[in-house]
Amino acid sequence: MKSPIGEVIRGFMSLVTGMGVTIRQFFKPNVTVQYPHASLKMTGRYRGHIELVRDPATGLSLCIACKSCEKACPSDCIAVEGVKRDGEKRKSATDFKVDFTKCSLCGSCVEVCPTDALKFSRNYNLAGTSREAYYLDLLKRLQTENK
């Protein structure tokens, strides 16, 4: 049987040890990053919403409107339309829309793409006031980037 006085002393010492940990922490440097004034670097493989990749030769999208991404998407949030223009061997996209309200950033579309025409963006500052702000028109984004 433990003596009650011994237990009180041991108990008190355990509290002092715990307090010692807290006090040591008190003198350690501050690591908080003051967002939005400063922000951390995003990792290379960060999965943001998808974006179209530009063909370095033509400056246009690499997308061939094969609709693989549309089929692979578990949330049904991609809509692609394409036409075969005269003199071209393959189709090119005329419309590439993503409903980001449904997207779960799984990346299935990026993986199935046969021409590697899709990539993840580094955009994580996503806040909006309307649902429509998240209906992304990727072709339009690519064109406005051109300018």
Binding site: R10, G11, F12, S14, L15, T17, G18, G20, V21, T22, Q25, T43, G44, R45, Y46, R47, A72, C73, P74, S104, L105, C106, G107, S108, E111, F120
Partner: protein, 376 residues
């Protein structure tokens, strides 16, 4: 006269009242509702009412292809996403007879164990928060942040990783990850000593947890409780040992078991598991083979031969099993998800009977419930 910490059922008075704990209560860690019939401060009956965050994950599995269901698996128990994805890809690989390259298996073990540590750190913080200690949460989240940064570096995501693929991995690990993981295991061990000094040996915590919420091994078996709950009741049940999967048989690790069955035993099991996970990670890093991380012949559209397939893993909360029934289509006929939190919650009604309300909340915290996992 001292106040009893427990009143047996036959001594309860008839004058009871009903108290709703949840669905919006911080101590239930989500939208779990527990209908408490109280005799003063004592619980006459606690009836858990799950279902507030039911998302039909099993049904969703039955109306989409295997690859399309894969992202769902990391959203069932968002704190141990790696294990859940592992169980699902494991079941499909077993059925389709896909051999996973050894490097992929080792990386799976490393990432799974990192995920287990981060899950236990969240539990550690949240459990002590339930008991009224705020500071340990901040220490735990500091360490967890390091794991999340490591995993974000290779998977691109901080919580819902979805890193495993049928036949391997999403992508190979880089040198930064391997070095970062080595640094982390070296960093984490002294931190565990710090946790011991700060929390585990603390007299207030000991008095608060010891002999509170006893769960017998018999009760665990009756309700199918697994994971740290059954190991805290003296049964060395761990899927990594009982039904070895992946490359776990190649590693040396102990199964921590505490026979007391009280909240402190479950606490100590989880703290010891962090040590064992660090041990496994170190061994896996030492033995990590070179080679591809994806099997060569994985069909683009997966179609499983007709049959009934099961794959179980040791998730952070216990045994998680996926059962797939296939009828030779690209969409499964049935997907059954056996979630550990659901079984662990089932024993709550019996275990909490006669306990004081604050003790019953300590018991609930020690079960480490994740509500989306219960409801699925």
């Amino acid at each position: 006269m001292s106040i009893p910490s427990f009143i047996p059922h036959e001594k309860m008075s008839d004058e009871t009242f009903v108290l709703n704990l949840g669905p919006q209560h911080p101590a239930t860690h989500g939208v779990l509702r527990v209908k408490l019939t109280m005799d003063g401060e004592y619980i006459a009956r606690a009836e858990p009412v799950p279902g507030y965050i039911h998302r039909m994950h099993e049904k969703m599995g039955e109306n989409r292809t295997y690859a399309q269901f894969l992202p769902n698996t990391s959203r069932i128990d968002y704190l141990s996403a790696m294990h859940y994805t592992h169980a699902f890809v494991g079941a499909v690989e077993r059925a389709a007879r896909i051999t996973v390259p050894p490097r992929a298996e080792y990386v799976r073990v490393i990432t799974s164990e990192l995920n287990r540590i981060s899950s236990h750190l969240v539990w550690f913080g949240a459990f002590l928060l339930d008991l009224g200690g705020f500071t340990p949460l901040l220490y735990a989240f500091d360490d967890r942040e390091k794991i999340l940064d490591l995993l974000e570096g290779i998977t691109g995501s901080r919580l819902t990783y979805c890193y495993y693929r049928f036949g391997g991995l999403y992508n190979d690990v880089d040198a930064d990850f391997l070095k970062g993981t080595r640094d982390f295991t070296a960093y984490m061990r002294p931190r565990l000593d710090m946790y011991r000094a700060l929390v585990t040996d603390n007299i207030i915590l000991r008095k608060r947890l010891e002999s509170i919420g006893p769960i017998s091994a018999e009760m665990c078996r009756k309700y199918g409780a697994t994971g740290p709950v059954i190991r805290g009741s003296g049964v060395a049940y761990d899927v990594r040992r009982i039904e070895p999967y992946s490359v776990y048989p190649e590693f040396q690790f102990d199964i921590p078991v505490y026979p007391e069955g009280d909240c402190m035993a479950r606490y100590l099991v989880r703290m010891e598991e962090i040590v064992q996970s660090l041990r496994i990670i170190d061994q896996a890093l030492d033995q990590l083979p070179e080679g591809p991380v994806m099997a060569e012949k994985v069909p683009r559209v997966i179609k499983l031969p007709p049959g009934d397939y099961c794959y179980a893993v040791e998730a952070a909360r216990g045994r998680f099993a996926v059962r797939i029934v296939s009828d030779n289509k690209d969409i499964p006929y049935r997907v059954k998800l056996r979630a550990p939190s659901f079984s662990n919650l089932s024993l709550y009604e019996e275990a909490s009977q006669g306990m004081m309300l604050p003790d019953a909340l300590a018991l609930m915290g020690s079960l480490d419930l994740v509500i989306p996992d219960i409801d699925r």
